[in-house]
Amino acid sequence: MSAVSVFMSSFGFGLMTAAVLAIATVGFTMQFAVTNVLNLAYGSVMINSAFVAYYFNARGMNAWVTLVFGMVTGAVVSWALNRFVFTPFQRRNLAPITVVIVALGVDLVGTFGLQAIVGGGYVSFRLAPGQEYHILGMFLSGMQLVILAICAVVLGMIHWLLKYTRLGKAMRATSANPNLARNSGVKTQMVISTTWLISGALCGLAGTVFAMNTGVFEATSAQLYIVMLLAAMFLGGPGEPYGAMFGALTIGLATEISAAYISPQYKEVVAFLALLGMLTFRPYGIFGSEKTN
């Protein structure tokens, strides 16, 4: 293959990775923005949601329909995590690091608990990849194009939610200044719960399309995904949904293109280096601004 075609085909992979990562990072960063929880258990919720969707798919349900089950699982599990795990720990006024460590524990329990249930083997969705399309030197299957379309539509909906709806504005207000939001009559507890439902649905969706896009997956497949999430989030500025989209695009493309030239094994390393560089030179991200007052 020529240099250009290697580049363009890896660009295609990068686009897929970026699209899935964008959905995941937006959910991840929304949780951080509105509740100040760095939910390190995000990857395990993703893969658990994927397995629930897979469960229905393996019993004959159309794979695209099972996305709904993945989303519902992600939403309910995330909401419950916040309600019964993170909030009680936050209420006790412990150091913020406590919640991070708790989330890490939840991630391990979630991942290996799943492994105990489903076993260690690889599975894959029953989903025809469809015709292969050759677009600008990229090779994308029909399935991948559908995933891209879903991601684009969902990101568009998130944009609409945050920018034009009462709920979305209340979410942004709660994120910016929770006390003032309450002084304005916003029931911030409700807003926070709703945020976890919505971001959890994004998490479940991301997990399921991640599993579909990967082809074969197992209980631990999303274990290193948190590195990609953190890199994308910090690149765009923590708590900035639009920054998350940008960060995901950058990290998605960077990891896949570097994979074509170095080795796919080093994807997370590349993401991690990007994260380190970002933390060193612009800890508030490209779009983020230092929250001072």
Partner: protein, 252 residues
């Protein structure tokens, strides 16, 4: 200024109020009554508990003893969102806007409790009041100047047509002319329209000029209070707050 922005209305009362953080009282045994049509101001040195007092009235800081009421309603330790719904508008000393939101969005959040169809007309009314905000509706609140920002902060609470205004140093960091205008035109104006105004003001002289009653807070307690013309005659007050107009000492 023909627009009716604030509603006339309700008495705000604190009785034997103690409040503070982590169960430790900062404000102790404070009695305050703010009535419709009047400006009641609170002055006092830095750290005397002025902000803590206001926060405890609006549900941001826990009340540890005593009661707070609006009209006939006991609002002691009520959540801030319920206090807002009862017509009490609170402008904090700092963090008084949502910086990443635009001016328009800040006003929309201010009108969060309004019926959806009323928000736009209400924004129009508030903008008539603060015309300077009109040309910056799409600007982020974090990018406003100090004076514009205070107008936005006031505009946000006016969205709900409050009957009681609780204002924590609205003139801090403002140029003297802007500060005077804010106090004498706008804030005094609310009271003249029948609203209840409770105001914390650093500059005692300016506070006295627009107030009907002034309380001096020291060490979390009301150490002196009275009508402005009486306080102006009070040697202790004059020495502590009006003497030379520069240094502000702890009232004895």
């Amino acid at each position: 200024m023909s627009v009716e922005l604030s509603q006339s209305g309700q008495v705000l009362t604190a009785t034997g109020l103690s409040a503070g953080y982590d169960g430790r009282p900062i404000v102790q045994d404070v009695n305050i009554e703010a009535t419709p049509g009047k400006v009641v101001s609170i002055v006092g040195p830095n750290g005397s508990g002025k902000s803590t007092l206001l926060k405890s009235l609006v549900g941001v800081v826990p009340v540890l003893g005593g009661t707070v009421s609006v009209g006939a309603k006991d609002i002691t330790n009520m959540t801030p969102e319920k206090v807002a719904a009862l017509g009490v508008g609170y402008v904090p000393q700092i963090d008084d806007v949502f910086p990443p939101l635009t001016v328009k969005e800040n006003l929309e959040i201010g009108g969060y409790l309004l019926a959806r169809r009323d928000v736009a007309t209400r924004i129009e009314a508030v903008l008539e009041f603060f015309p300077r905000l009109k040309v910056m509706l799409t600007r982020k609140a974090g990018k406003l100047s100090g004076g514009e920002r205070k107008m936005l902060a006031m505009g946000r609470v006016l969205m709900l047509s409050p009957s009681v205004l609780v204002l924590d140093e609205p003139t801090a960091n403002l140029a003297p002319i802007v500060a005077t205008q804010l106090l004498e035109e706008y804030i005094r104006g609310f009271a003249d329209h029948g609203s209840t105004v409770l105001l914390v003001e650093q500059r005692a002289k300016a506070a006295l000029r627009i107030s009907d009653w002034t309380c001096v807070l020291g060490g979390g307690r009301v150490v002196l209070e009275g009508a402005p013309r009486d306080l102006e005659q009070d040697p202790v007050f004059v020495e502590s707050f009006l003497g030379g107009g520069t240094a502000r000492h702890q009232a004895p």
